[in-house]
Symmetry: C2
Amino acid sequence: MQTVTLLVEGMSCGHCVNSVEGAVNKLGVSSKVDLSGGSVTVDFNESKVSLDAIKKAIEDQGYDVV
Amino acid sequence: MQTVTLLVEGMSCGHCVNSVEGAVNKLGVSSKVDLSGGSVTVDFNESKVSLDAIKKAIEDQGYDVV
């Protein structure tokens, strides 16, 4: 397992939190959004899902991973 | 028909727009959110729905009508 905190721009409200967490969850990855800090911390098994795939899932929701 | 523009606090993103417009739409009221201006303009038939009911629908989504 690996824990990575990504900086994500554009998350502004609880709906955004749900969008990001839901998208990441679909990959079987647990996550925690820090809305005020603009970050998403993900716990994932790198043998099952890549960090790039997680970043893409977040970006596909309309947010920028910086 | 009556057109009223309400000032609404707390709308921050497209999800919020969808929440507010969706809630108002359920009352049979068409609406347009101005996200940057923080306002919602509603067109409604005052013989069918009250302005108070519209305000309540917005507030029930978690926003403040000021």
